[in-house]
Symmetry: C2
Amino acid sequence: MTIHQLDMQKEKEILDELLDFQKKDLSFKSGHIIGSMCGLPHPIAQKAYQLFLATNLGDPNIFKGTREIEKRFIFFIQNLLNAPPSAGGLIVSGGTEGNITAMWVAKQLSHNQEIIIPASAHFSFQKIATLMDMKLKLIPLTKEFHMDASQVKKKISAGTAAIVGIAGSTDLGTIDQIEELSDICKDEHIFLHIDAAFGGFIIPFLKDAKHPSYPFDFSLEGVSSVSIDAHKMGYSAIPLGTIILREKEWIDEISVRSPCINSDTQAGILGTRSGGPVAAGYAVTRYLGMEGYADIVKHCLKTTKYTVSKIKELGLSLVMDPPLNVIAVRLKNPGKVVAILEKEGWKVNKIDHLSSIRIVCMPSITKEIIDEFMVKLQQACQQAGEL
Amino acid sequence: MTIHQLDMQKEKEILDELLDFQKKDLSFKSGHIIGSMCGLPHPIAQKAYQLFLATNLGDPNIFKGTREIEKRFIFFIQNLLNAPPSAGGLIVSGGTEGNITAMWVAKQLSHNQEIIIPASAHFSFQKIATLMDMKLKLIPLTKEFHMDASQVKKKISAGTAAIVGIAGSTDLGTIDQIEELSDICKDEHIFLHIDAAFGGFIIPFLKDAKHPSYPFDFSLEGVSSVSIDAHKMGYSAIPLGTIILREKEWIDEISVRSPCINSDTQAGILGTRSGGPVAAGYAVTRYLGMEGYADIVKHCLKTTKYTVSKIKELGLSLVMDPPLNVIAVRLKNPGKVVAILEKEGWKVNKIDHLSSIRIVCMPSITKEIIDEFMVKLQQACQQAGEL
């Protein structure tokens, strides 16, 4: 058999072809992707990922060492989110799977199909509606862009499966009034899921950064589940999210018998999945520790403050004072500005319904990048007639 | 900011810690994982994966080059599966997501909730039942371990959303009589999904290997969708599956508006996902081409034939003549043999309901590995009182 005798010349040609395609990408490394909630992973993440690429955590009894790493990573997340000893967690591919998984648990526990979500909920809930036959009841936002908690109670019915609060919204980085939601859900015995895909790795460190802080996690008794993405502010590599459930027994609700692999049951949505991202995420948490994350959050908030001042200096206005490191710049025609910036090789995100563009100060975004960007933003806004 | 100044000593300690955990894993590289449907990826897969790790195909307009690679990979798969020009495809994380996605499309198109599946269907359909509120109607198997097509017609009702056929079953590698299912579905206008997660990269090459071949793909007019995993017999890295739909418009049925990313809609289940596995899969298909895959299939079938002869020489019997490269060895107490082999560092899979163990001759399994394994298998069977 010759299948393992590598033709090095052929390999080089193919990898060169791939790199040619890559020239058409923007890269996180360049710093020019300035509107995404993903970013460049920490260097140790890439190395750890590679070492564990050829492992399958969908069949954990073959990969007992990698499974131990996974357990330790989940434990780190439980600790970060103040989960009680009764809690359990599952690795997911990201925020969308985290939300689907939480709604699956809530549906199984309640035998209900209605979910109450804020108007600011991530678009993955639109998928949940048709995929899972769930009915979405949308709650309007207050002037402060929070889910209007006074409206929530009115929407609760005998068919309610869950209420969802957001900790770090996609558009603005807002955090819903989760303390109030927790009280409601505790009283009414309703499953409360917190989508902290973006905020989960920031909010626990706000106090350290002397920034206004908000309770959002299992320290609130009414919170049933929290999803959090390590490939967003956790500084790790795609795909790595975690869903933590207040009671580990709830995992049984979404487990099936798995006779053909080396364990009796499999929990969660996906089957085969690499241990690479999990090892990467664990390596990053080990490298940074709580102090490292606190430093990153300080850095991101400092860059945010700097960016806000520069935007105001340009004469542009914001949708709101950023509660986290997400900045929404109000524009008359955001699409036009986005298009001009894209031609210049910069990518910000367009938030049409807020007539704005989104800038996210991720860990790898520096003041130097912002300075470079501001020149481009000013030019683009002048060209588009915004300034 | 010091977050980018790497402490090399600390990095080394953490990577060493990870490698210590890894010692508790079995590895695909060792050849001792001999019952899994995943295996060691082709060397070029690892390299390509690494180059594209920090890309996000969930936001394809930022990564236009990587998106082009994805399109080319999907086109390769469409070609492999004889898909018509009207077809379209989506990358998924593997067979489970492929099946969920297909059932989502079928549910949306039919507004029905019942799916007719063979008793041999993968356990992911059990997830689909509770996740998606689908009702499973199980069809018993014939003596040849095929879905009994004569029973299928009887189960069809006004509530049928889809019929599922298997091309390369999890337990035995069997291929259902998909020609008959296709005729039924064409007549009755029912969505027919083929789960070719395992068989999709083998069955197209059986003729070349002078092995009995079976129609299973879009060359049959009644086939609506096929899911196929490149991380199984496609010799690529986890996670990489593809779902091909006969009509690309059906993708709209599972698309939602995605205002916060740089494209108007997002199709499929997951959101953020790395371009790494896609680039890896494309590199492997470019490296091997159709001829390379044909050679791999010949190799796997040859190893299978060799293994079968050695098993029979030991005095053990098989559940059936392997239709592909999946061998089920009939034993009185498979659990006991699996446990003894595990202690010796070898991993085969237990198929309790067939009172057997499963061996899969993946591309990286060689005659030399089989020779080594046979010694262990004989000893284990003697110790367990099977021989």
